[in-house]
Symmetry: C2
Subunit: 315 residues, 2 copies
């Protein structure tokens, strides 16, 4: 029987990186390792486990080397490291990261604000990292993110031709994996369907990741639009951790357990154990020192039924 | 040019009723009136302005009569009152409500818990209200809600045949307007598309309303699925007010400004002024005494750009 929702949706868990990087409360290295090991036990095949950025820029993740060296590598799980430059890539390779994720914004202004360099300088640096990885002592895959692909908080609308062109440039440079990131939650499902269809002309769905934030409440609607358009891999953060410095109080990344619940309810296979995931998510408030935005960890699954009140049973 | 998103989406604002009814902090009558008047100025054509329920059952809305008598009636705006029984209907007619909304759950257990009677007793009461309205001294329209249409927190899955059958029964009784309510946020987009298509065989889209809660983060995804299936009218609450006693901490109704932002971004006409709506939503935390769950009032619209940091301008 043909079924529009029978193809698996791959969830790449990014809480250890994109989630924890903005947390003010220091998370101990051993707690980071326990979190990642807990995620590995939930059935993920891809986990962005940390970054190798300057400790001055992102102090919360300054222990990336110790984290990568301390985790138990799950069978068949790809542990991704975000790296901003050759120095970070060297550290990631020394820590045996399976995949390096590079980032450049489609918006020049956002790239200058986020990476402190022009897009041209970012691309030149990517070339250096590609060459480094080609000489690596073990097989390492490469992914590059087009940040602000659906809108920029400084520049506003982003030309879709430019996003497609950047994705093509990444591929031509030898970077197989492409992530389209809605860095500050400006995407809408109509735009997502259009841009995903265009990028899939150049990037196979097995190499494409969509990264949505729930800043304006549209994260899961955007996932479905992208899935309907042929995308199959999505970033999400446990508890909906993460956020945007330009939207204080707003949600961060789309929430992993909310996404997996959606897939479970619609019959889309993910391979992730929702019950374990919810239990792990409920440990987050103690870990980060505040409530998190995810809904399903609060509400429970649909199948977690409640007892009817006494008076109702007597009617 | 044909456009899948050119048809208007009608937003029925329900914060004054479904939102305020569970608030613990008493909202003064004059503040309720100011809120409704503020909503009328935003461009809504339908506002659920209050209920005529026993003050013991819902003390927060015990001033329904004074609220309906105090508001400024906007030109062409339909002010709806929720009524649980004939007594409530009489009060609503005395207060010149334009439309009465009746409620019964598809789940027997939920109806007993919520309405303290069986579904059969509820339907008998609906018959009495229909007769009362037929003799009303001014034209009054009728709507009836199928609560727990997409799932019940006590019983779990709800038979779709039963939901369709209840909608048909309502229509046969002389109740034109039908609302399918996802009372505790258990719906998923696939189920929504299927059930909306089935109900539209019996109910014209001009008479059908979808009422979604965001309990598990799927509210706006469900709206799009319903819109794609032909539904055109949706309940939403300013700030995402409302909630479910069985999901403490989880979101309530879908958030009006988040829905209008989605429509604005996708080009779906609503007739609602998003900027005014956001300004009004930002008054809610002071009114109800706590933060609310809506995202767009925190993050702003996409077009509300931020200045780039100084250092980025120098690169």
């Amino acid at each position: 029987m043909s079924d529009a929702y029978s193809e698996a949706l791959i969830v790449q868990e990014v809480a250890p990186r994109d989630g924890l990087q903005i947390e003010k409360q220091w998370v101990e290295t051993e707690d980071k390792i326990a979190l990642i090991d807990g995620l590995s036990a939930c059935g993920f095949t891809r986990i962005e486990a940390g970054s190798f950025v300057s400790p001055k820029a992102i102090p919360a993740l300054r222990d990336g080397d110790a984290v990568f060296n301390g985790i138990r590598r799950g069978q068949g799980v790809i542990y991704v490291a975000l790296v901003p430059n050759v120095k970070g890539a060297e550290r990631a390779l020394a820590a045996s990261a399976d995949e390096l994720n590079l980032v450049m914004s489609a918006s020049q202004t956002h790239n200058r604000a986020n990476m402190r360099m022009s897009c041209e300088s970012s691309l030149a640096g990517f070339g250096d990292i590609v060459r480094l990885v080609q000489g690596a002592p073990y097989p390492v895959s490469l992914n590059a993110t087009v940040a602000t692909a659906f809108g920029c908080p400084f520049e506003g609308r982003i030309d879709e031709d430019r996003v497609v062109s950047i994705a093509r440039t990444y591929r031509e440079m030898g970077i197989a994996g492409i992530t389209l990131a809605d860095t500050t939650g400006m995407a809408n499902p109509r735009q997502v369907a259009r841009l995903v269809a265009r990028v899939l002309e150049y990037v196979p769905s097995t190499d494409l990741t969509l990264h949505f934030h729930n800043t304006r409440g549209l994260g899961l609607a955007n996932v479905l639009a992208a899935y309907d358009a042929g995308a199959r891999r999505f970033d999400a953060a446990l508890g909906g951790l993460g956020g945007c410095p330009f939207a204080p109080g707003a949600s961060g990344n789309i929430c992993t357990e909310d996404l997996v619940n959606l897939c479970d309810e619609m019959g889309i296979p993910t391979g992730v154990d929702l019950q374990k995931l919810i239990a792990l998510s409920r440990t987050l408030p103690a870990l980060v020192g505040h409530e998190v935005s995810g809904q399903v960890a609060k509400a429970g699954r649909n199948c977690d039924l409640h007892p009817a009140p006494e008076y109702a049973r007597a009617i």
